[in-house]
Symmetry: C2
């Protein structure tokens, strides 16, 4: 019902995606990977929509990563295949994983423990299929995965490659790139992760264990790849389709690359405390910047002197960074555009995205949620 | 499909509600209001479900508060009436408010500016109906509302009471009670808010302006009401149906009154960094405690020595507050129950709530979302 209307007419708060920017982000990442000679297996977790998946796969609907089974089912239902569920195999979801493995051409699971592998070994797939299993290694990121230099990692890789399971790939997430400031720090993490992954692959090869795919990822590292990454088969970034203020501050992108906004309207003037209220609280933006930006919880587009200083469930408080607010510039009912700190978190708060080109709505996208 | 099953069998992460505790919370609030001689107009924003609304209204489906128009439509569709949309009238939603005002017996809107009132005055309702308008006053809370002692508040009340609009009530939110520690501080805020509201009503009366309802609210103040509140007509708390760790720390409730949990499973052991991973990240819990609890982002039920130290989108990191973790106590696949810091925020992350009595699932509730 909104197609053809201006985004300024949308009810607020609302999550908008600039389609041209998102397309450009997707194309640039594809071109970067092509130039590097690696395949792109984009992560769907940021947008969780079929349409976003189309942009990121160039319409092939093949070779994606998901972080929940709800996403896996959603994309499978949408005609996607070659889906990697890149999450330490949850013990309560083995049967559902088996159903997807039996139904799809390629459904990949991931493990980082012998116990999880044991569950797969005990759960035979129909049609003589073998489980496609990836090993998660930890290259100084410190979340999931066996440490790349830990002998247990090599042992687990060998065990995966035996019997009813096959070693489909090695997966490393360089989430530590999120602590970087600037391209040089990002590339240092990208290089370290790549070299650790390649060293592990080398050990695998020496042990005679075949492994068709090695994949590392994170939007910062894949936005500024290092030449060493050409020796990998794949990368798996996700956030880059939208980018956000966090990525800009890390150095992954420029402000003009951020495709998403939360539109909000002024709902109150409170001159005695030099504040205005807007109709976007944490249900519309999330609390993810923790208010730590110089501009508070977000950037207010075109108004660098404004600070979003606080949010409750449905209210946001805005005041000037310094000085007196000129309320005549922000009349009641007028629109402001917030540039989110963390697009994944903000997108997760919205049941529908409004997609526009040059400010005119061309589509709505409905993300999957849950697990 | 889950009815009759144990909550321990549910796929994780999952949001559970102990129906007996929620019922008891609802009943106690009703009894407290009855004893005080004030009506209860419960706020729906925490749970956003018809079933929760039934509990809080004692099945009457009358006299509720909502904070979004999506909630207003949802509850109206569900047979609720006497709905107060207690939010500074958004300029883009006047037509939708009119539709609800025309359709329901009583749909109330709220204003805190002459501009918003002007919009209502210019939008006639069909059937000769008059807009039922509440004035929002600010009694030292510092969010929306005209300050109770500001002459502009009295002027606006008078203007509401003229012509096509009627002054249906005065509304104050004592959100400043969220900064309290302990019953005495809570009651001090409750008393101050009540006295300011009553003083404003007195001025209204002296000016010859009739106002049938005065209402204040917040879960802390209504959990420990002061005798002065008996002079009000209504109170409008909301969170109390679930309560949470924040309310417990404020002093609104005891731990045993918290009806909600996020169930999560152990998905990884990382002895080298003394941590385990669980399958609940910020999509399942929110970041609302900001990690500031002694136990991090939540309480881990039955494990006071554990701390949820970090969360990413789908992962939570748990470590002991001190000492070495005994991993044999937390085997892979085993279940932990997180007690949320902010139930409103955690509930907002879940498309479905699993309702249980004594650990056995009896129903699922589906909340409304969006705006």
């Amino acid at each position: 019902m909104w197609a053809g209307r201006r985004v300024e007419e949308l009810p607020t708060p609302t999550f908008t995606v600039d389609l041209d920017v998102a397309k450009r982000n997707a194309q640039r990442m594809s071109e970067r990977c092509r130039a590097l000679g690696v395949s792109l297996r984009p992560h769907m977790k940021t947008h969780k929509t079929l349409e976003g998946g189309d942009l990121m796969t160039g319409g092939t609907r093949r070779r994606i990563v998901v972080s929940t089974l709800a996403e896996a089912r959603f994309f499978a239902d949408g005609g996607f295949d070659d889906i990697l569920y890149a999450y330490p195999l949850p013990f309560d979801k083995v049967d559902e994983c088996a159903a997807l493995a039996e139904r799809l051409e390629s459904f990949h699971v991931l493990v980082d423990s012998p116990e999880a592998l044991g569950l797969l070994k005990r759960r035979n797939l129909s049609l003589g299929k073998r489980w496609k299993v990836w090993l998660k290694i930890d290259c100084e990121n410190g979340r999931a995965g066996l440490r790349h230099a830990d002998p247990a990692a090599l042992d687990l890789a060998k065990a995966i490659a035996e019997g009813a399971t096959e070693l489909a790939g090695i997966y490393a997430h360089c989430g530590n790139s999120y602590h970087c400031h600037g391209v040089s720090e990002i590339q240092s993490v990208a290089r370290a992760t790549t070299l650790s992954t390649l060293a592990f692959l080398n050990k695998l090869q020496q042990a005679g264990v075949a492994c068709p795919i090695s994949s590392i990822g994170s939007t910062p590292s894949c936005s500024h790849p290092v030449p060493e990454m050409a020796k990998l088969q794949e990368v798996h970034p996700g956030n880059y389709i939208f980018y956000d203020v966090q990525q800009m501050m890390i150095g992954s992108c420029q402000l003009e690359d951020v495709a998403v906004r939360v539109l909000t309207r002024v709902i109150g003037h409170y001159p005695h405390r030099n504040q205005l209220l807007v109709d976007c609280g944490w249900t519309g933006l999330s609390l993810h910047s923790l208010g730590q930006l110089p501009t508070g919880y977000a950037l207010v587009e075109g108004h660098p002197s404004l600070k979003l200083v606080g949010m409750t469930q449905e209210h946001g408080k805005i005041e000037p960074i310094s000085g007196k607010l000129d309320f005549t510039k922000y009349r009641l009912g007028s629109l402001l555009a917030l540039i989110p700190y963390h697009a994944c978190a903000t997108a997760a708060m919205h049941p529908l995205y409004y997609i526009h080109t040059s400010g005119r709505v061309v589509a709505t996208w409905k993300p999957v949620r849950g697990w």
